[in-house]
């Protein structure tokens, strides 16, 4: 999971347009990742056995707060993946790192959000699955796991309908709005989370990965610049009787906007 600027943030570009102004931005858990955390917690509740939910996030120190939120929601363990060498990683090199971390752990299922609402690339989880050589289902709106934890049935939204996929575990699943209603971090949960440890993993902990594989040098893409959105034209309110408003609207669409 990652943390992203709060949806209400007004994004401003730096003066040279090489990035965004990060000062004053409030970061929150990526909303699609909330569905993933909730899905994981529901599985844990279903199996009631030794199922462990581990959350992991790649990013600078600010992601710790988001990890803490997931712990407060009920996750058991958290892993904070960061190293100065990771700075500048794109989705693909990020996925390389995350896959390496996952390899070190035992797992049945990796859940993620369908996309980060900041860069909207929808690539990280897919690439993690590729690196690990395991199957993946994206944009899932319903999820059933078999009682013996060997396979899942996932429903995903596609153009004009739903597709139902049955795959073997371990696998990667990305979560879409509608899958569940993420729970809030309760106050007692927040207090418990304070006592849980957040494990740190850096480059030296990841065998077979060198500085050249990660960061800007390990990335397949490079951001060359940012452009602000064009200013939106002000709203125009139509007044008068409904009949009058309709004819004004038709005229405006035809003559001013020239769309009909």
């Amino acid at each position: 999971m990652k943390n992203v600027p709060d949806t209400e943030t007004k994004i401003k570009l730096t003066s040279d347009r090489s990035g965004i102004e990060t000062q004053g931005i409030k970061y929150v858990m990526n909303p699609f990742d909330e569905y993933a955390v909730e899905a994981a917690l529901q599985l844990k509740e279903k199996f009631k056995d030794d199922t462990t939910v581990t959350v992991m996030s790649l990013g600078p120190d600010r992601v710790v707060e988001t990890l803490r939120t997931a712990l407060a929601m009920g996750a058991d363990e958290a892993v904070h993946v960061w190293d100065p060498a990771f700075e500048g990683s794109d989705m693909l090199s990020g996925a390389k790192i995350l896959a390496k971390v996952a390899e070190k752990m035992e797992f049945d299922l990796i859940l993620g959000g369908k996309q980060g609402i900041d860069y909207d690339s929808m690539q990280t989880c897919a690439a993690v699955a590729e690196h690990l050589g395991i199957p993946q289902v994206q944009i899932v709106i319903a999820l059933e796991i078999s009682d013996d934890k060997t396979s899942i049935v996932a429903r995903r939204r596609i153009e004009g309908g739903d597709e139902v996929v049955n795959i073997k575990l371990p696998a990667v699943v990305t979560c879409e709005k509608g899958l569940n209603e993420p729970r809030y971090a309760s106050l007692p949960g927040i207090m418990k989370a304070k006592k849980k440890e957040i494990k740190k993993i850096g480059l030296s902990d990841l065998e077979g990965l060198s500085a050249a594989d990660v960061g800007a040098s390990g990335s397949a893409t490079k951001i060359v610049g940012y452009e602000p959105l064009a200013e939106r034209a002000p709203c125009r309110m139509l007044e008068g009787e409904p009949g009058q408003q309709v004819s004004d609207l038709v005229r405006a669409l035809r003559e001013d906007a020239k769309v009909i």
Partner: protein, 593 residues
């Protein structure tokens, strides 16, 4: 009480180190997470249901309260021993602030955790706590508080409801009527105040299901329409003697101490209500175009936005400074000790003046903010499709309940003088010293100091001196008849309130500047200057009235000369400051420091 803790009311005579006060900038990651949960709950659960709750749709409000209980939001102030979280007052105030964005839900919530739960928490026996408090903490039981009667509101101790011991000595039989019972429509427990034998004012824990207890119809109210307010009738209600709360005849102690807590919570609640009104107003002002421009670009609209934000900043600074004082005195108390409740009460009592100040300041600040919010929305502020009219209506109750603002204004100088007479703070000595110093001619000019906000600091010190000067003169003139001089008391209260307000904002701003540097403190700097220069003129006017009421002729002239020396100032460009302050918030589109 530890020696290094400031005494209640001592801000008037002592200097406070900015580093020593608690400010919202001091919240920990954990406290911010608590607030985030409350914020998400309000935005995702409460606000989308406001239409239903305002229409009093059956069960909706109760369900919301229960849901907040599941998240642990009702157990913040409850001791761990009884299933609570036992968190500090700063946390509890922060959560109350955030919840206060939820309109009538906030009242329902505050009544439950405050006047509904605290009487049992502070005054209950272990058995009563085990039976009731544990369930109030989770929301399994909903609480309420019946003090007011048709014939006794402000004069609460004149209640007529009576309690008589049954012949077998097992029950108190309650008879009477209570009005304006918040949460009454759905409460499971009611703290009822009644006089044993018609004499001894006492409190009882009354269960909703007891025979003889009936509810009146829901009041049709100006605001907070989603909250329940009913009358109750007690007709030979048999209350087991075990349900007497606290000592017989000591009900006033419960009534007043619980109100104190309610008062500072109401102050900080106003801050939350103000923030949502400001956020909505700025968003609207940025979107609404007239004369081809967003209305946010007009000077008079900016003027309002700057004032709204500044008054909110000041009240917020006062609130959390008070929270810090409370935590300073309450946190060392061993909650498991037998005298824990008594010490807690004493701790809160120490800061009664500050509690009343918060109540008056907060509820009047939101009155202004909500009113200007309607104005920014224009005609749309007057119709129910937009939230401004509800903010305006909802704000109005604050000045009436938890002790009207008139009653609290009397308490502010009243309590201070009482403490001074008892020798708890050396107020009188300070007033005497000041008078001598001021009447000496010429007054010693202080050495020129250098540093941030130096002029403003001096003005704040002088305002504190004005409060001593006027209070001293009033006491000398009216002696023990001062209680009957409500005009004078009201002005003294206003001067004291503003002294606390100006100083709290100044101290917080200096603390922010110390940690973030002058650049990081730019907007709070401006708000502090604006507020101090804006208010100094009012202080002067209030003080002149007091002096004229207490003296005449040469004596008055001498006093006025002394006052002039204290309030004299060279104005700064407050109009310009307002534009700059407004631009900062308009750009952010919300109240955020």
């Amino acid at each position: 009480m530890a020696d290094d803790l400031p005494k209640g009311g001592s801000f008037l005579i002592e200097e406070t180190d900015p580093a020593s006060i608690f400010t919202p900038e001091d919240f920990t990651e954990e406290q911010r997470m608590f607030a985030k949960t409350a914020e998400d709950f309000i935005h995702n659960e409460v606000i989308p249901k406001i239409e239903q709750t305002e229409a009093k749709e059956e069960g909706v409000m109760v369900e919301l309260l229960k849901k907040s209980g599941e998240l642990g939001l009702l157990m913040i102030d409850v001791p761990e021993k009884y299933g609570g979280l036992e968190l500090d007052k700063a946390t509890s105030m922060l959560v109350t602030e955030v919840i206060s964005k939820g309109g009538a839900f906030a009242v329902t919530y505050a009544v439950h955790i405050g006047i509904g739960t605290l009487p049992v928490s502070y005054f209950g026996t272990p058995v009563q706590k085990e039976k009731y408090l544990t369930k109030l903490a989770t929301g399994e039981l909903i609480g309420s508080y019946a003090l007011t009667e048709a014939g006794s509101g402000s004069d609460a101790l004149a209640a007529k409801t009576r309690a008589d011991l049954s012949d077998d000595g097992k029950y108190y039989i309650l008879n009477g009527e209570k009005t304006f019972l918040s949460n009454g429509g759905f409460a499971d427990l009611i703290i009822v105040f009644a006089k044993v034998g018609g004499e001894e004012f006492s409190a009882f824990i009354v269960e909703r299901g007891y025979d003889g207890l009936t509810l009146g119809a829901e009041e049709k109210k100006l605001g907070i329409r989603g909250s329940s307010t009913v009358q109750i009738f007690l007709d030979n209600v048999k209350v087991p003697v075990e349900n007497l709360l606290g000592e017989k005849g000591k009900g006033h102690k419960i009534a007043f101490n619980i109100l104190n807590v309610g008062r500072f919570k109401l102050g900080v609640g106003s801050v939350g209500s103000a923030k949502i009104a400001i956020d909505d107003s700025i968003k609207y002002a940025n979107e609404r175009q007239q004369f081809g421009k967003p209305i946010a670009s007009f000077g008079m609209i900016k003027n309002k936005i700057a004032n709204m934000a500044t008054y909110t900043y000041v009240t917020e600074s006062m609130s959390y400074r008070t929270a810090g004082l409370m935590d300073g005195i309450l946190s060392p108390i061993d909650r498991d000790a037998d005298d824990a409740s008594e010490l807690t009460m004493k701790g809160i009592e120490e800061y009664v003046t500050e509690c009343s100040i918060m109540k008056v300041k907060g509820t009047e600040m939101i009155g202004y903010v909500a009113d200007e919010s309607v104005q920014i929305f224009g005609g749309y502020g007057y119709v129910e499709d937009y939230p401004a009219e509800r903010y305006f209506r909802d704000a109005r109750i604050g000045r009436i309940y938890e002790g009207t603002n008139e009653i609290n204004r009397m308490l502010i100088p009243g309590m201070l003088l009482k403490r001074a007479m008892k020798g708890e703070i050396p107020l009188m000595a300070a007033a005497k010293k000041l008078q001598d110093e001021l009447l000496e001619f010429p007054m010693m000019e202080e050495t020129e100091e250098e540093g941030l906000l130096i002029e403003e600091k001096k003005l704040v010190q002088n305002v504190k001196k004005v409060s001593l000067l006027t209070a001293g003169v009033a006491v000398q003139k009216f002696m023990d008849k001062l209680q009957d001089q409500q005009g004078v008391l009201g002005n003294l209260a206003d001067i004291i309130i503003e002294a606390y307000g100006m100083e709290s904002a100044l101290l917080r701003t200096l603390k922010i500047a110390a940690s973030k540097g002058e650049d990081g403190a730019d907007v709070v700097f401006k708000m502090t200057r604006l507020y101090i220069y804006d208010t100094i003129g009012k202080i002067d006017q209030w003080a002149r009235e007091v002096l004229a009421a207490c003296s005449d002729g040469d004596e008055l002239r001498t006093m006025l000369a002394a006052l002039r020396r204290l309030t004299r100032n060279i104005p700064v460009d407050t109009l310009g400051l307002r534009l700059e302050i407004a631009d900062y918030f308009i750009e952010k589109e919300k109240y955020e420091i």
